[in-house]
């Protein structure tokens, strides 16, 4: 395996609705910022990969025009995934492992504001059985939370604690959409939104984008004093039908974590893509993270959840903290699909 590291990260300030600029205008400044952060011009980038969704944009081939933000001329080696940008990092990492790129740039963007995100995400479901029912993702997550609460896997108090900690952490994150001090007792006294979930158990609806630059071997050492090395990387998927899964745990996260070697050495910090409070509890357990691990110091997806991007942001946030010495070994996680159907785990380490 080649040594590949995240050497630069940039993101937008995430907002409920970015209505004055389009996707190209949203991406351009942070593409420049990420390249500057890596100390390279775009002509040194060997491979570009992006993540976004046509359904979110409400337009087929929506990613095509967005590429103009990078300015792919002369022609570049480039690919796109209709997945979270964390998987675009995976594709870039594979390309680097195959010896086809030394420097790669990955971006992702998602504007949920143009459509009704709960209706849009219902189009992810099995088109024959579930799709026609228009079940929305909050209802599915509520179903998962109920199963977990009834099974005693976690409590409403623990869920509220996750919300409070996330908002508190986000106070130090200038890019977060939500932040602040909240008492657990006060949160628990709020009305239920989609029972048993309260509003604070659910992610905000966000528009945002993010970029990372990856470099391999010598290029990483040349360009970064403290590269965040990718030491383990895997992703796994579970059955689509919720009835086929144990919703109180995350089997695919466990599988990916084992493959990525999460448990091989102590972990200091984890950025988990948990859009719902109970999902953070499920993920902490699946990843075997002990109480001492700093969880979502950025505030996580509960404080800014740009679709197709929130997973990539976890990788960037974790990498930044390895680079600045806050952590020596960090886990970044991304998820896709209803109730944590698909999960990606990446282990990042300093020297």
């Amino acid at each position: 395996m080649r040594d590949v590291a995240i050497i630069s990260f940039a993101q937008t300030k995430h907002q409920r609705a970015v209505s004055d600029i389009n996707e190209v205008e949203m991406l351009m400044p942070i593409l420049g910022e990420a390249l500057d952060g890596a100390g390279v011009k775009k002509d040194r980038v060997d491979f570009v990969c992006s993540g976004s969704s046509d359904y979110l944009a409400g337009q087929p081939f929506s990613f095509v025009m967005s590429l103009d933000a990078f300015g792919p001329w002369p022609p570049i080696s480039e690919s796109h995934v209709d997945m979270d940008g964390a998987w675009a990092v995976y594709e870039a990492w594979v390309k680097m492992q195959a010896g086809k790129a030394d420097i790669a740039l990955v971006y992702a963007y998602g504007k949920s504001s143009p459509g009704d995100i709960r209706k849009v995400l219902s189009r992810q479901l099995d088109p024959y059985y579930l799709g026609p029912l228009w079940v929305d993702p909050v209802s599915l997550a509520a179903l998962q939370a109920r199963v977990g609460l009834e099974a005693g896997a976690f409590s409403a108090e623990q869920m509220a604690e996750v919300a409070a900690a996330s908002r508190r952490n986000a106070k130090a994150n200038p890019y977060a959409q939500l932040s602040g001090d909240a008492e657990v007792a006060a949160l628990l006294s709020e009305p239920e939104f989609v029972a048993p979930l309260r509003k604070h158990d659910c992610p905000p609806i966000s528009d945002g984008a993010a970029v990372v630059v990856l470099a391999a071997d010598g290029a990483a050492r040349e360009l970064s004093e403290h590269p965040a090395w990718i030491r383990g990387f895997d992703h796994r998927i579970e059955p689509h039908a919720l009835g086929s899964r144990d919703l109180t745990t995350s089997v695919s996260t466990k599988q990916a974590a084992a493959k990525a070697g999460v448990g091989d050495k102590p972990v200091d910090l984890a950025e988990l893509h948990a859009p719902f409070t109970h999902q953070e509890l499920i993920l902490r357990d699946a990843l075997g993270l002990s109480d001492g691990v700093s969880i979502n110091p950025s505030g996580g997806a509960l404080c800014a959840n740009p679709m197709m991007t929130a997973g990539l942001i976890r990788m960037g946030e974790a990498a930044n903290r390895v680079t600045n010495g806050e952590a020596s070994r960090a886990v970044a996680h991304a998820t896709s699909g209803p109730c944590l159907q698909q999960n990606l785990v990446c282990v990042l380490e300093g020297e």
């Binding site: 969704s53 359904y55 087929p60 590429l67 792919p72 480039e78 690919s79 209709d82 492992q97 010896g99």
Partner: protein
């Protein structure tokens, strides 16, 4: 940069392409996958990872369908990856799968690409009206017809070139049981007299809308050697390349895009090819409108600039010519959009493996699979060969 593992294609599979496939989406992709596994003499359990590609999700009305298809494709508990790069997606999906093996991450990868255009109304899906963009007055044909006119203006190509390509591909399709169109009665005159849809493009010079899927089983050197010693020769990957350029910019050459030219040289260089016309035995290229064959012959350096149409006219690209193109009947005979690029890659591999049946070209050692997408701006190519690189 470091080298990589050798990669072999040991299984290919596809559905019978047709206007409406009665199977479910899962059924269609699974049928192609099962055929590829059977060809590779493997079972679902042998597969380490699944890579799936398709064009816009609006075609079937399912957002990120890999989530729903995880079960049908035996991906549960495995990595499943979804690619979307417009029309080139079938090719770029196969490249992601081959990279996973080349990088040594997996030993056996299943890759699948599909489209079920009948599930929604494709014209609708492609024509979501965007309020701030200039109005599109004529669909995909209307977009590409001016580029074809520019090609004709530049090269002085005569009108019948497009007809010759259409006739050749449709006759080739008669030898391919999986092809969507089987037009037994087709003649030069019937193509010539078909309706001029988007002048200079006639009805018979355009591709159909198809439901269909394609799948490949890709393995490392060990897997390729095992298949070979079992009397099932693999196709070895000798090079892969991707290129993208902007949809429109001042002075963009849409007839002979630089991205395609550079992608071709990149993949030839990896395969050690200096003279593609002499060293490549046959080509499956992405030709949705017949005039794209002469255009791509130049873009891929098989003919000099302005000479592509002469190569067509000479018969060089016929099944018995010195560089057969689209032996399977190509996109002009079957167009399940998301799968169309992978079908080019698969058919190239089938030729190298001597598996193409009635449309097999004798003695193929090296073949090119080519896909493009968007406004002639995304390119994906691979070279496969009978000999281990």
């Amino acid at each position: 940069m470091m080298g990589s593992e050798r990669v072999a294609i040991v299984g290919t599979g596809q559905t019978k392409h047709q206007a409406t496939n009665d199977g479910s989406i899962a059924g269609v992709v699974r049928q192609a996958a099962e055929r590829a596994l059977e060809d590779a003499q493997m079972s679902w359990a042998d597969i380490d990872a699944v890579v799936i590609g398709k064009a816009p999700d609006f075609f079937e009305g399912v957002m990120m369908p890999e989530l729903y298809l995880a079960d049908a494709l035996g991906a549960v508990g495995k990595p499943m990856f979804r690619v979307h790069t417009a029309g080139s997606v079938g090719g770029s999906t196969a490249i992601v799968a081959q990279d996973l093996v080349a990088a040594g991450i997996h030993e056996r990868v299943l890759t699948v690409a599909f489209e079920k255009q009948s599930e929604s109304e494709a014209m609708w899906a492609l024509s979501v009206s965007m309020p701030f963009q200039p109005p599109m007055h004529a669909g995909a044909g209307g977009y590409f017809a001016p580029h074809i006119r520019s090609y004709i203006r530049r090269t002085g190509a005569p009108d019948h070139i497009g007809i010759l390509v259409a006739l050749k591909d449709r006759l080739n399709a008669l030898k391919n049981p999986y092809a969507h169109l089987h037009e037994h009665e087709i003649t030069f005159d019937s193509v010539k007299e078909s309706m001029m849809l988007w002048d200079p493009i006639r009805y018979s010079e355009t591709c159909p809308s198809s439901d269909g899927a394609c799948a490949l089983v890709i393995t490392n050197e060990k897997g390729g050697d095992a298949a070979a010693s079992d009397g099932r020769p693999p196709a070895w990957v000798k090079g892969t390349a991707l290129r993208s350029e902007p949809t429109m910019f001042a002075g963009r050459d849409q007839v002979n895009p630089r991205g395609g030219q550079e992608c071709a040289w990149d993949v030839y260089k990896q395969a050690g090819i200096a003279h593609p016309r002499d060293e490549i035995d046959c080509v499956e290229m992405y030709v949705p409108f017949s005039w794209f064959e002469p255009m791509w012959l130049e873009n891929l350096h098989f003919a000099g600039v302005g000479e592509g149409w002469k190569m067509v006219e000479s018969g060089a690209t016929q099944l018995d010519g010195d560089l057969p193109v689209n032996m399977s009947g190509g996109v002009l005979s079957s167009n399940p959009i998301g799968a169309s690029g992978m079908l080019r890659f698969a058919e190239a591999a089938m030729q190298v493996r001597g598996q193409a049946g009635e449309h097999q070209v004798d003695g193929v050692r090296t073949a090119l699979g080519h896909a493009y997408g968007g406004g002639s701006q995304f390119f994906a190519m691979w070279i496969v060969g009978a000999e281990k690189p």
